[in-house]
């Protein structure tokens, strides 16, 4: 009896531990911590951006006399607006090119067999695994020799090089979750291969497309972060204006995330099954 009894007791004890770990209190505490860590810098940013230039140094948590002056300085005085415009242009152009090339490429890698297909795919991924810092010198050489240094086109090309493999990979994985019978049904129903992609496969993969789109837009909007360093002067740093610029920089990303939230969840949890 004792042996069996012992086993049951141990089982019950373990069950109690798990019941506690999985209880709403613990789960919420963990979630709260996670949110706290993520949101604290943002709140700090926001609070600081509402202070005056001198108020930043006053070492109070809340601004003594809240003002939007920092935003005024950030957006109008320092050419930050130009950086935002550049960001939008570069991000849109890079994203457009990446998605335009990456989606069909992902489809091809998911569906068609051709000589060395796996080798080509691994090679595509390999280019992304190369440490970006190692690319700085060759990039610089290429850009200067083609006259593209300090141009938006140059940045777009660099972005495309960096993010295209990732998008191809993401899109390929989404396409793989879509049964091939769908393409085949479309082709039997009267579609060419391209029509089958356009009318059937692409609309079905749209959530995946939205996910890849979000990821690449986010990663491509790199010029605003650079622009925040405009506020580092020779003799002083305008912390308030810098944080104001950072808050502004967050807005586009935040909007994209809010708008595509559903698809991001789908993308993160890997797959369109059950759609």
């Amino acid at each position: 009896m004792s042996r069996a009894r012992f086993g049951v007791d141990r089982y019950r004890r373990r069950q109690r531990v798990w019941n506690f770990v999985e209880s709403p209190y613990v789960v919420h505490a963990v979630l709260f911590l996670a949110v706290f860590f993520i949101i604290t810098p943002l709140v700090w940013d926001l609070v600081t951006s509402l202070k005056t230039r001198e108020g930043v140094l006053a070492l109070t948590y809340l601004p003594q006399d809240p003002t939007l002056a920092a935003y005024e300085r950030a957006l109008f005085d320092r050419g930050f607006w130009q950086a935002v415009v550049n960001s939008v242009i570069v991000a849109s152009a890079s994203t457009a090119v990446v998605m335009l090339l990456g989606t069909p490429a992902g489809y091809v890698f998911s569906r068609f067999r051709f000589p060395f297909d796996n080798a080509v795919f691994v090679f595509v991924l390999f280019t992304r695994l190369f440490p970006p810092i190692g690319l700085v010198t060759p990039y610089y050489r290429i850009m200067t020799s083609t006259g593209l240094q300090n141009t938006k086109v140059g940045i777009v090309i660099a972005n495309v090089y960096l993010w295209l493999p990732l998008v191809i990979y993401i899109m390929r994985n989404f396409f793989i979750t879509i049964p091939q019978a769908l393409d085949e049904a479309a082709r039997v129903d009267g579609c060419t291969k391209v029509q089958a992609f356009r009318h059937i496969v692409f609309p079905v993969v749209l959530p995946g497309f939205a996910f890849a789109f979000t990821v690449s837009t986010d990663l491509n909007s790199m010029t605003i972060p650079v622009a925040t360093f405009l506020f580092v002067g020779d003799t002083s740093i305008d912390w308030a204006a810098m944080t104001a610029a950072a808050v502004v920089a967050v807005i586009p990303s935040a909007l994209v995330v809010v708008f595509f939230q559903r698809y991001i969840v789908v993308g993160m949890t890997g797959g369109l099954k059950g759609e």
């Binding site: 085949e184 049904a185 479309a186 039997v188 129903d189 579609c191 029509q195 759609e275």
Partner: protein, 433 residues
């Protein structure tokens, strides 16, 4: 009946057994088929179709040749991996055959896209377009061919009504039950009038009850639409009930092409015999000796005397009579006690086949191991007397439900002698057809 009338047409010319041998130049269907084509138009012709996957390692389909006539319903049946789906996909244009030709209405379709072949196909997974409504799904084949919108709408409604899904037109596939999805898939196929319908195991995802319902509906649909259809299944019940002719395949090769009744009653080899029929045919190691009355076949624990007509066939073989296999379908047995009482199930109607009471050589005793009453009939798991301890000697006898057989006791089983089969133990060929 419409269906059986058509079957009689084929009987003239189309029964054709394609041997398993490789060197089949001289024994293709062509000879017989050419006579037949005078009467009926050939809708689909496969000519030596071979499909190899990988670098020649996997031969999925080997030397598949047959002609399918206008309006015929052909069922390809076989175990999984026998090449039936691959054959269908080569017809659809989703795979290109490695060798051989495919002709649809006399036109060689080699290299043509599926859309150019004027076919419709129903997939095992239905392959409904998840982002489109039922209306858009059914109408898609017309829409992509740029039919005017009002005509598309009209035909969608008409098709949906015919399939009993008229009220579901604005739903999406995810909101439909399996049976409804199946109907949408059928609707998408029948809305056009293609030259050929292809079905790839369309009922295998349905539960048993629905599958039987849809089977009946498919039958009705085919009678109404009357189009040439090629249907792939691993379910022999579907093959038997749907097919005008059944093509039994194994290991990428055709085993037998014949109407369902023929495949059942006269299987050309042991594979077909074992595959068609449920429960499967019992196979016994056997040997034969010629006697005055006919042929005495000795299997484990019992003897059967086959009638003189069989004896003539056997005499003509001139082969080793010690290495045979005897095949008896479970339903070819009957509880001899019931025959004495005058209760004769269909297979025993010809009293001449059987003395009453059954004499030796037509019946034998066996120990009942398990009794499984099925309602309409009763299945007995039995072992012939003298082999009670031999598990491998156990076989199934399907007898009338009036039987008094009790597990552990002995029953006398009569055999419908005109329904037994003798197979060559080595090649598996049926020696009596």
């Amino acid at each position: 009946m419409y269906r059986s009338e058509r079957r009689e047409d084929y009987q003239v010319a189309v029964y054709e057994v394609i041997p398993m041998s490789e060197s089949s130049e001289d024994i293709h269907v062509d000879g017989t088929a050419r006579e037949a084509s005078d009467e009926r138009d050939v809708s689909l012709r496969l000519d030596g179709v071979k499909k190899v996957f990988g670098d020649g390692e996997v031969v999925a389909v080997n030397d598949f040749s047959m002609e399918i006539y206008e309006g015929e319903f052909i069922v390809l049946v076989g175990p999984s991996g026998c090449g039936k789906t691959t054959t269908l996909r080569t017809v659809a244009g989703l795979e290109e055959p490695t060798e051989g030709r495919i002709l649809i209405d006399g036109e060689n379709v080699a290299g043509q896209d599926p859309r150019e072949r004027d076919i419709a196909m129903v997939f095992q997974s239905y392959a409904l377009y998840p982002h489109k409504t039922v209306r858009e799904n059914i109408g898609f084949p017309l829409e992509i061919r740029k039919y005017p919108a009002d005509e598309v709408e009209e035909r969608v409604v008409e098709t949906a009504e015919m399939l009993g899904i008229g009220e579901l037109l604005d739903r999406r596939p995810a909101d439909l039950s399996g049976g409804q999805q199946q109907r949408v898939a059928l609707g998408r196929a029948v809305i056009r009038s293609p030259k050929l319908f292809l079905f790839d195991e369309p009922l295998s995802n349905l539960d048993a009850k629905l599958r039987i319902e849809m089977r009946t509906e498919l039958n009705k649909l085919h009678d109404r639409v009357g189009k040439t259809s090629v249907y792939v299944t691993h379910d022999q019940a579907e093959a038997m009930t749907l097919g005008d002719r059944v093509v039994v395949m194994n290991d990428g090769e055709i085993q037998q092409v014949a109407p369902p009744e023929e495949v059942y009653a006269r299987p050309v080899n042991q594979f077909v015999a074992g595959f068609i029929g449920e429960p499967p045919m019992n196979i016994f190691d056997a040997s034969a000796t010629m006697t005055e009355d006919g042929v005495r076949v000795t299997a484990g624990g019992f003897d059967l005397t086959l009638p003189p007509s069989v004896a003539e066939t056997v005499r003509s073989w001139g082969r080793d009579l010690d290495r045979l296999e005897l095949g008896i379908r479970p339903e070819s047995f009957e509880d001899a006690a019931l025959l004495e009482l005058g209760i004769r199930p269909e297979s025993f109607e010809d009293a001449a086949l059987l003395d009453v009471p059954p004499a030796d050589g037509r019946s034998f005793e066996a120990r009942v191991m398990v009794v499984e009453p099925m309602g309409a009939h009763t299945d007995l798991a039995v072992r012939a007397t003298g082999h009670e301890d031999d598990e491998s000697a156990e076989f199934t006898a399907r007898v009338s439900n009036d039987t008094d057989a009790v597990a552990g006791e002995t029953v006398r089983l009569a055999v419908a002698l005109d329904e037994v089969h003798l197979f060559d133990a080595v090649s598996g060929d049926n020696l009596l057809v």
